[in-house]
């Protein structure tokens, strides 16, 4: 059928225009990334066409730059903590939405998913007020709590989508055969949800590593990487920032490719966070 549509329409002027448009959009999407990477090797600094003196100097400077690596370390800590918090709460939240009935369930669902679509400034500021009222000093800990809370939405959507495809008979059999709920959870439910959980974990990790709007308001003395970059941008731009961004980009790309392979091997499906966007857009507010 798809073949039919393709063959009957693939040479119309319409489809040629679509192809040109697609190429233009891809160029638009990749132009800044290409510029970013290219100028990380530019001896003359950022900007200036054509690029001169290709060099690895900026990478050399970057590797000797203490504060940047401190902030990377902070970000990694925050990302792991956020991952732990959001998985520990997001998995039960998905189970609750799938299996329990309780008053306020609709509101609960909406609240959990809200940070996904809400501008970060609102999540950040409301938490800032909370910590202020509680007298909590701002630190990496407050950022971990902020990211963890905001990203429960990611864990919940991914795991909830997985639960919809889960065959409940296995759990039923396990319970019938005398396993308790705890054993059933660890031996049946979690192994069956392995892919959504790993997917959610990877997404949470990368989203937390990149997050800036919430961190912006909850920052204490120690910077996360995006805030360190932000601080430097305000003082002026150097290709060192291009260099660190390039490294992170390559790192994320490798992560995606690994995840993609994992998922294709496991179920032949291909979707990275697609469920997230699809689900959050069509059901953020539906109960």
């Amino acid at each position: 059928m798809e073949l039919l549509v393709n063959s009957s329409t693939s040479n119309t002027p319409c489809s040629r225009w679509l192809l040109v448009h697609a190429l233009a959009v891809f160029s638009f999407l990749y132009l800044p990334i290409a510029v970013l990477i290219l100028y990380s090797f530019n001896g003359q600094g950022v900007g200036g066409f054509p690029p001169h003196h290709l060099t690895f100097d900026w990478y050399r400077i970057l590797f000797a730059d203490g504060p940047i690596w401190d902030s990377v370390l902070n970000s990694v800590q925050v990302a792991f903590a956020a991952m732990a918090i959001s998985l520990m709460l997001g998995i039960p939240a998905a189970l609750a939405l799938d299996r329990a009935q309780f008053p306020g369930k609709a509101l609960f669902r909406r609240l959990v998913l809200l940070p996904l679509i809400l501008p970060g400034i609102i999540t950040g500021l409301s938490l800032l007020m909370l910590f202020n009222v509680m007298g909590t000093k701002l630190s990496l800990m407050t950022i971990m709590l902020g990211h963890g809370t905001a990203l429960i939405s990611v864990a919940t959507t991914e795991v909830f989508a997985g639960l919809q495809k889960l065959d409940r008979a296995q759990e039923e059999a396990s319970l019938d055969l005398g396993a308790n709920y705890w054993q059933t959870f660890w031996r049946i439910t979690v192994p069956n949800l392995k892919l959504p959980i790993i997917g959610a974990a990877l997404l949470i990790f990368t989203l937390s590593m990149d997050e800036i709007a919430v961190s912006f308001f909850l920052i204490g003395r120690d910077n996360t990487l995006p805030l360190e970059i932000w601080g430097r941008l305000r003082r002026g731009i150097t290709p060192e920032i291009n260099a660190v961004s390039t490294i992170i980009f390559v790192f994320s790309l490798v992560t995606i490719v690994i995840w993609y392979r994992l998922r294709v091997r496991a179920e032949g499906g291909v979707d990275i966070g697609g469920e997230l966007v699809e689900d959050s857009s069509t059901s953020t507010l539906s109960s």
């Binding site: 100028y39 909370l130 699809e278």
Partner: protein, 282 residues
Amino acid sequence: MFSRAYKTVVTVPPLLWVTVFLLVPYLLMFCYSFWSVSPAQAIVHSWNLENYKELLQKTVYWQTLLRSMWIAARVMVFSLLLGYPLAYFLSFYAGRRKDLLYQMVIIPLWVSYLVRAYAWKTILGSDGVLNTLLQYVHLTRHPLDFLLYSPFAVVLTLTHIYTPFTFLPIYAALEHIPRNLVEASHDLGANPVQTFWKVIFPLSIPGVVAGATFAFVLSLGDFLAPLLLGGPSGIMISNIVVSLFGAAYNWPLGAAISLGMLVIVVSLLFLSERLEKKWSFS
């Protein structure tokens, strides 16, 4: 099948957490918006409507809000114009390369938001890549200075950031269209253009609404792109909030504006949900 205890154990911890870290903070934002700041810069916990009066009276807030909505609306339109045909192309014409191309739309999302905004800054600046390129090929003699520090730069950057977000739900909607409907339309003698407008487009409206909402809502609340690329004429409403929570030190007024934003955003989400339901065919 699941006991009461099981349901309690999976429900209570997330419920408590969400109450403490999401619901209470929103309520606090509501409370703060009725408080005020004393001359000694302490928060006065007495309830009054002064902040809201000030918001209604001073035109600068309204102007900035309108400008932010105008910027967000432009970002929304451009993201749709870029995202929709791309999604349509991928869904109907890309054939075997579909999955690869789909991943290629997603990949830019993995480059940090901040880094992409920064990349545009290095492209648009007066000695940036674009201006030096134009001079190098002798198209211009002097740097074009409207490129950076203008609403144009903000709209361009936000469009770049939110096009993939707009693309995704549209693509999902197009992928869910049963192909036999398209086939039927062809068989009954409709040409591709008629098939598109009479069959495909109406069925993709929920995706369009979702994508448009993403682009509008997320750019409406943005404050980093305007700070980095907007200049004085590109200030958005969130920038005012940031300064009220920072140097200007008036949290209650800032809270009132944030609450206003929250109300606008949540109403838009409700509206888009209604629209999506109305147009969904399943």
